[in-house]
């Protein structure tokens, strides 16, 4: 996926290293290799490769990772602008 990169300096992913217990689950679930485990602590090594899927934050047992997760889909975002996020759903007319 190194050949396909998206916009830089937009990602909301943040890591609180003090909270990290080094379980390494985030490095397993990230589909883009954004995080690695070094000296028993998670580290963000490719911030701009993050697609904000939220898998790491969802599986972090100590909430050391935070991200505003969402669907990177224009149709969904247009819906959320019109109807508000709470009334929008991804894939209403058959995207994914």
């Amino acid at each position: 996926m190194k050949s396909l990169r998206y916009l830089e300096n937009v990602v909301t992913l943040a890591l609180d290293e003090d909270k990290c217990v080094g379980c390494g689950i985030c490095t397993q679930v990230c589909p883009h290799g954004v995080l690695v485990l070094r000296n028993r602590k998670a580290q963000i090594v490719d911030l701009h490769g993050c697609m904000e899927c939220g898998a790491c934050a969802n599986n972090c047992p100590t909430s050391a990772l935070a991200v505003t997760p969402g669907v990177g889909c224009a149709s969904y975002i247009i819906q959320s602008w019109i109807k508000g996020k709470e009334n929008s759903s991804c894939g209403s007319q058959g995207c994914c």
């Binding site: 990169r5 224009a74 991804c90």
Partner: protein, 403 residues
């Protein structure tokens, strides 16, 4: 059979529940021999399958039932037949994909024992088919979650492939009575919806994150649940992008009818107020410009994604639109009955459409972040709207400005 469900495909465990009498009933019974006597009409078809039950339909991918402490569990085939392949083709073309699902519940692959691994997947038939095909020759349990017929990743994003559904499905199927271990192997892309540590707390089963692709399950299981780095990364190869093109186009059907109707109407406006010959003559050009916009935004951008300049999809769509848009714009350049202004109008129309459609392709890719998509939308949607409005003004105006 407490709750007969009409046409319930897959016969999930909750529908085939408890009784052992039922299992005895499922054994083939003695049948009177069919006499080969002359009769009216064609020869009779095969007799009913012994596993058939009133109100249920036996799915073609089920090849029998295996007894378990919680009742019979459907044993599924690992070889896809013509019906499965036809179904795959249909949904890839964008037909019937909102209702292409199997019944959630527990299934058996091969002859699984109490120590056999439990794999978890979505009830989108395409996901289910991928997984069972990749399990050929293996013994395993397959726990299918109710994701409303959506694939694992999208369902995880929506929360239907989620912690609550997984815990409920484990409890509802009585999985703890079927297997001796307490491990569930989940597809890695389900991690957006499932929190492994909460699953362990709520139902006692440990979540093991398997590979991204079903095709790697065999290697994952044989390497003692260790994934190579490559198995943990999403890809978006040429063929993976190409396979999405038909759906991208068929999703436009409804909007396309309205767009073309409006464009044909606008093409008829001119010095004679409204002219049917103009609808035909100029309308064809407008339709060609739309077709090129769709080709650029829904085919060229997805297929040539890494090679088109720019990171924003809307920008890639502008480049593709400018390139393909020159064809309908230039085709009547020497036609004295068409104004010079028609060309720029058609080029702008193709480019605006291509940029918008390419921007919408962000939702089908596995690497665009919502923050990034929103940023490019705020930047490029005004540009697209501006181009579209200018295209329409020029198109109507050009009818009054003949060469």
């Amino acid at each position: 059979m407490n709750k007969p469900v009409k046409q319930n495909c897959g016969c999930g465990l909750e529908n085939t529940q408890p009784s052992h009498n039922l299992l005895r009933e499922m054994l083939p019974m003695d049948r009177p021999p069919v006499k080969d006597e002359p009769c009216c009409g064609p020869p009779p078809g095969p007799p009913s399958d012994p596993n058939e039950r009133p109100g249920y339909r036996l799915c073609s991918f089920v090849q029998g039932f295996m007894p378990t402490p919680v009742g019979p569990v459907p044993r599924i085939k690992t070889l896809l037949d013509t019906r499965d392949k036809l179904g795959t083709w249909n949904v890839r073309m964008g037909f019937g994909r909102n209702d292409y699902k199997v019944a959630p519940g527990l299934y058996a692959v091969g002859d699984p024992a109490a120590e056999a691994p439990v794999l978890v997947t979505a009830n989108y038939k395409l996901s289910f088919d991928h997984v069972r095909e990749s399990l050929a020759g293996m013994d395993a349990w397959l726990l299918v979650l109710d994701t409303h017929g959506i694939n694992v990743w999208c369902a995880a994003g929506k929360g239907t492939f989620g912690t609550a559904e997984l815990v409920q499905r484990v409890l509802k199927t009585g999985l703890a009575q079927v297997v001796r271990h307490r491990r569930l192997i989940l597809p890695q892309l389900g991690a957006t919806g499932v929190a492994g540590h909460r699953v362990k707390k709520e139902c006692g089963f440990e979540v093991i994150w398997g590979p991204v692709k079903a095709a790697d399950i065999r290697a994952f299981l044989s390497s003692d649940h260790r994934s190579e780095v490559a198995m943990r990364r999403v890809t978006f190869t040429f063929s993976e992008r190409l396979v999405l093109v038909p759906v991208e186009i068929t999703l436009l059907r409804k909007h396309l009818v309205y767009t073309l109707a409006v464009l044909l109407f606008l093409s008829g406006i001119g010095p004679h107020i409204f002219s049917w010959p103009a609808v035909w003559q100029r309308g064809v050009l407008a339709v060609a410009a739309v077709a090129m916009g769709i080709a650029a935004g829904c085919i060229v951008v997805p297929v040539l994604l890494p090679w088109i300049p720019g990171r924003a999809f809307a920008l890639k769509g502008i480049f593709a639109g400018l390139f393909l848009g020159t064809f309908p714009a230039a085709v009547h350049w020497n036609d004295s009955s068409i104004s010079y202004w028609s060309g720029p109008a058609l080029l702008l129309l193709t480019t605006a459409l291509s940029s918008y459609l390419a921007m919408n392709f962000t939702g089908s890719t596995p690497f665009t972040s919502p923050s990034g998509v929103e940023k490019e939308m705020r930047r490029y949607m005004p540009v697209q709207a501006g181009m579209a409005v200018m295209a329409l003004f020029l198109w109507i105006g050009s009818a009054f400005l003949m060469k």
